[in-house]
Amino acid sequence: MDLLNALVALTNFVIVPGLAYGSQLALGALGVTLIYGILRFSNFAHGDTMAFGAMVTILVTWAFQSMGISFGVLPTALLALPFGILGTIGLVLLTDRTVYRFYRQQKAKPVIFVMVSLGVMFMLNGIVRFIIGPGDQRFADGERFIITARTFKQMTGLDEGLAVKTTQGITVITAIIVVAALFWFLNKTRTGKSMRAYSDNEDLALLSGINPERVVMYTWMIVAALATIAGVLYGLDKSFKPFTYFQLLLPIFASAIVGGLGNPLGAIAGGFIIAFSEVTITYAWKKVLTYGLPDGLSPDGLVQLLSTDYKFAVSFAILIVVLLFKPTGLFKGKAV
Amino acid sequence: MIVVEDLHKHFGGFHAVDGASLEIAKGSITGLIGPNGAGKTTLFNVIAGVLPPTSGRVTMDGEDITGLPPHELFHKGLLRTFQIAHEFSSMTCRENLMMVPGNQSGETLWNTWFGRKRIASEERALRAKADEVLEFLTISHIADLKAGEISGGQKKLLELGRTMMVDAKIVFLDEVGAGVNRTLLYTIADAIKRLNEERGYTFVVIEHDMEFIGRLCDPVICMAEGKKLAEGTLDEIKANEQVIEAYLGTGLKNKDKLAKA
């Protein structure tokens, strides 16, 4: 029984949130990694693209809600998601036309692209705040929980509860679907392969009859979709606030890098590594140990490896250690 | 001078160099031939310290140099060129050459601030030397072009030129000839010979052009599948059945079809 309690406590506070957060990071990192792999630069505007996508979705969600449209137990935002994706696709294609294309034609160095993406980030930053404001927005509706801690306790008679939020469930499921679809697309379809070819050798792709502008366009479209999905799932699970999306950029990049830039598998693994390292390293094992160990042995202290102050430091330290052994990430990423 | 003993280099499960043992005599120009993928470049890379060997030993003049980093080997007089040209693309061709000599006093930060006289005179000498090399390679006209913007063959020449900037003991040339105009290549062959005779450089030359090898190399070593297959003069090698089968072939089969034209 006690062992069960320990297990439930661990699941509730480490595994479930870790999975959800990991999926969110993974989806974000996928976008970053695709841009890196195919267009060959680190896109700092990605966080704000996520915010933009989420914002459009929220606005449409509100419109739906005011029209009385709902999605039953699921959040209405899922219905609005396609619109958000479309809006974001429009936005990124527009920025590509007006901004990035010029540098592509100039064959500018990656670092120029990085700076340009910083510029785009600043502007998006302003636009998003301008439209929806800097504050918190909540737009989740429908059933909040798949199971609450209280119900779980009643059902099982355990001391510890296990809560799973609907949004957590949706996040993980969507992440799996999206990732599977993406893999199929990249490795099996003609367009997907042409994207990989372009990412490898632009000039040669040209010689194979691949239209580079098309590849770029598809890439942006996929990235826009990924960014919107990630942004909305994140917003549903926590809350929407432009500033956090910028902050999210750091762990997202860390995920993409730890897995190996340009490698989709790596992005996913990276997302979970970063998420779980954040959650586990600073976890206080007191509760779990108290349940798990015989009475006399239960610990006095918190049994915490490191205090939560160092949460980020720790995930970065893990990142650095991984890189020291695998200099281009776990899955052999690219380096331009 | 260089002794390679039972050298292995594995990439994952693939044995690129698989127990190669060979000796390179001081003052020789040794040719290294073999089919594509025989492991010649990999062998070079291991000797030159770019890749760590999986096992085996390399000695130079009796000194164990296995796994030493390339820059240390350079200072021991071991130079190499790259099969795929590794130019410094944003620097001019002249600068590409001038950077080569080691121990330039201008490479110490302190001197860049407080020893500028000395640097200036050293630079003059270097520049003269670089121009001489460019002249020799018939590419004086590209001295001030960025190395990233010269033709493929010119890059190869530049690659060779770098080894001529210093007094080397042994130079490894990895297909300097591929992509170089034949007339020029044979001039280069003469130069290599001269360096060898006059300055006592030892050369190891990978090349697929038998005429070039013939003019230059004795002995010739043929590698296949990561091992030494045969060694001898070019004529001996050319007569070797295995070498013919694996590497030289028997000439064009479709010659007859040419008649039409």
Partner: protein, 440 residues
Amino acid sequence: MTETMKHTLLFVFVGVMILLEGMTDFLFFSGSWNSALVILNMGLISAIMAIGVNIQWGFAGLFNVGIMGFTALGGLAVVLTSTPVIPAAWSSGGVSILIALVMGAMTVAAGVMITKFMAPGKLRMLVLAGIMIVGFFVYRAIFDPAVGSVEAINPALQGNIGGLGLPVLLSWPAGGLLAAGAAWLIGKTALGLRSDYLAIATLGIAEIIIAVLKNEDWLSRGVKNVVGLPRPLPYEVDLQNDPGFVESAAGLGLDPVLASTIYVKAGYALMFTVVLLALLWMAQMALKSPWGRMMRAIRDNETAAEAMGKDVTRRHLQIFVLGSAICGIAGAMMTTLDSQLTPGTYNPLRFTFLIWVMVIVGGSGNNFGAVLGGMLIWFFWIKVEPMGILLMEVVTSGMAEGSALKAHLVESASHMRLFTMGLILLLVLRFSPRGLIPEK
């Protein structure tokens, strides 16, 4: 127009902008010499940081995104060198803290030794784990109580080990040294990484440095901040109370408040300019020498440079340490200028990416470009807010008074700051994609 002319004009442009800031309140200018000098001073510091980054990136192609960390270490150096000695802290626990830190370092060193000299295998793992665990507990056993007692001393104002009580100007080189030391350690471990991997590693290390600064209260009070740091110039208030000063100010027709504030700021500007010029000269000499050529070769093609006898690892380390030291010096200068160390204010956008923008906009690989970029981008960083507001005013001028849209637009004007910054950045990069003063 020749290149040199164009580049000189760009510098003149920045100079004129700053002068206008002081002279007129037309458009977005404020017409205050104080304001102009504040911009100038931070601009000078930014230019120095940009030189540091340019040395690493422009010369050697090292993608260091940990500038923030080195800047912060520079700031820490100011606290450690210039704040008064706190004898109580040393008697109660300071010494033990030092011992603990040495112990920790020795544990790590022992670990490194063992991995180096013992054959791999179970035994090595065991010994390693043993040393690490024992080391960790010994370290914590000495460290924790010592920290506790140091932090207990007058926590509202002190609670840290204090400084050495040396003149604050000494903290600038000290900042450089501290940053250099950290860079050496980091470089030893992380410089094997390439491009964006190095970037994220340095970014992470910078975050770790900030985390330490924020959470180790015994060191520099953590997030409680150190305020009122000593400074190399007299206090304005003292000047205002100094009859001699007031008199000479009056002689110039200035009121004492204005004269004193400008006097101090101009003093800083002078000092910063001296440091900037010295560093610029040194960087320029280095760049134009065979050393610079070697570095460019390394940047272009490491494998080939290595084969040509250049010790790439060592050179990378050298330049990483140098560039970081310069950032450390700039960090110390900045903290001196602020007279306070506030770890919470270090965020990567402002202290790392903005500097990168400066370098790239200025023209990477070119020291003058870096300086220009530093001054120019800093000017805009400060001035985009009024520009944004101006922009909004222009946009809304046609709208009806009191319309909701107009209100919203005006309300959002301050968010237009980042927007405007982005716009400027994109425009500059559009018209000179290789930077304003590109590498030759």
